[in-house]
């Protein structure tokens, strides 16, 4: 009995030391159909997964195919575009070549025109100069030979002085009615004699005397006074040239004689140096 009690006590003691246990929870008894339901659900899930996989697989396949197709289409269109571009390029090159030829031809013609104009521009001024010179020479020759004599208010023709040949020409003393230099018929006029010339001179002098004092005289005097003022006619200031013998002249220039001799020697030396 004690053992029993002891054991009971032990049990009690153990019961006292043991922690209070939680409340017991009750688990539901598994549904026997649940595995089947779960299995069925798993199968459905698997089927759905497969379908999903198939979908994505198809989707991927479609995408790849689409890309391939697009790439192929792009390649085709690229090729066509290149073909079209090549055709266009050939046409543009031909057009460009035509344009360049046209330009080159235009430039060539322009260059030829400029060359012609250059020659013209080079020749024309000289030609004009030569023509002008010849024309002036002809006019000058005619002017020196043929001039209208301007008579003074008295009707008297002034003297024409040819300073080259030292010839003085008085138109009023021309004994013939007509005179010329080139026409042959004028050159066949009869020769005039010394008597004719004297009579013409006398008539001219008589006309001068008769017209003296008429309008124009003052003008002549004015010109004469003007010339006198300009010392062209001289006013008697310059003495007359007097010829003297060398003996009388020697005292007048004997002081410069050495310079003359020196200049002669210098001129001789210079001419010898230039000659050598």
């Amino acid at each position: 009995m004690p053992d029993m009690v002891f054991i009971i006590l032990c049990f009690l003691l153990v019961a006292c030391t043991a922690s209070p246990q939680q409340a017991v929870t009750y688990t539901r008894t598994p549904d026997p159909l649940q595995p089947y339901v779960d299995a069925n659900s798993s199968q459905g899930t698997a089927v759905a997964a497969i379908a999903t996989a198939d979908y994505f697989s198809n989707q991927l396949t479609a995408t790849v195919e689409a890309r391939n197709h697009a790439a192929a289409q792009q390649a085709i269109w690229t090729q066509r575009a290149m073909d079209i571009t090549a055709t266009a390029d050939i046409a543009s090159v031909q057009a460009f070549a035509t344009q360049q030829y046209s330009k080159a031809r235009t430039e060539e013609l322009s260059l030829k025109r400029k060359e012609l104009m250059n020659n013209v521009a080079a020749i024309v001024p000289w030609a004009m100069l030569v023509i002008t010179f010849i024309s002036l020479a002809i006019f000058f020759k005619r002017w020196t030979r043929v001039r209208v004599i301007q008579r003074d208010p008295r009707g008297d023709a002034p003297l024409l002085l040819d300073v080259v040949d030292s010839v003085a020409y008085d138109a009023d003393r021309n004994p013939t009615s007509t005179a010329g230099l080139q026409r042959e018929d004028l050159k066949q006029l009869p020769q005039f004699s010394a008597s004719d010339h004297t009579q013409t001179t006398a008539r001219d002098q008589m006309v001068d005397i008769a017209t003296r004092g008429l309008p124009g005289t003052n003008q002549r005097k004015g010109i004469s006074n003007q010339l006198r003022e300009e010392k062209l006619l001289g006013d008697g200031a310059m003495p007359k040239i007097e010829a003297i013998d060398s003996i009388s002249a020697r005292p007048l220039f004997k002081d410069v004689l050495p310079y003359i001799v020196q200049d002669s020697i210098d001129a001789e030396i210079i001419s010898e140096e230039e000659g050598s």
Binding site: K231, A243, D255, I260
Partner: protein, 164 residues
């Protein structure tokens, strides 16, 4: 007046031309063209015109003898040889002909008087003679080819002729 007839008329015309240009030349430079004489003559192979200024009327003489004036006058007259003679008065000596040319060679004459020595010839052909006593010491200077040896040779010949 016998000399006048010997002078070619061409020189008279030239002299008149020059004379007619002188007044304008001087008046243009504010100088008085007072000339008393214009002499024309021939000497030493040259025909010369001398224009004598009236020094009593021209005033300041210095303006008439300036080198610039002479140069301008020479240019005015076409580069003729012109000289100024102003030892007694003021005269412009204008050569109407070229300067006389020196002879290339002069033959030693045989008619040189005894006791005389000839040293050369003037432009007019006259001999330059002097006595041996006046010759004295002699220094001959000249360029190569100018005739130093020829002169010495002529002196030696003349000395031999005079038995010196």
């Amino acid at each position: 007046m016998t000399e006048q007839t010997q002078i070619n008329r061409r020189y008279f015309l030239e002299a008149e031309q020059i004379a007619s240009r002188l007044p304008a030349f001087f008046e243009h430079r504010n100088l008085k063209p007072f000339f008393t004489n214009l002499f024309l003559f021939q000497d030493l192979g040259m025909t010369i015109l001398i224009a004598v200024l009236d020094t009593a009327r021209i005033g300041d003489h210095a303006q008439y003898i300036q080198d610039d004036l002479l140069h301008q006058l020479k240019t005015e007259l076409g580069g003729r040889s012109m000289y100024l003679s102003n030892t007694t008065g003021i005269r412009y000596v204008i050569l109407l002909t070229a300067l006389p040319k020196l002879p290339r060679s002069i033959e030693l004459p045989n008619d040189i008087p005894h006791g005389m020595v000839s040293l050369g010839m003037r432009f007019n052909g006259q001999l330059i003679t002097l006595t041996w006593s006046k010759l004295g010491h002699l220094l001959i200077v000249g360029m190569t080819g100018s005739g130093k040896s020829s002169l010495l040779r002529s002196l030696a010949i003349q000395a031999t002729r005079n038995e010196i």
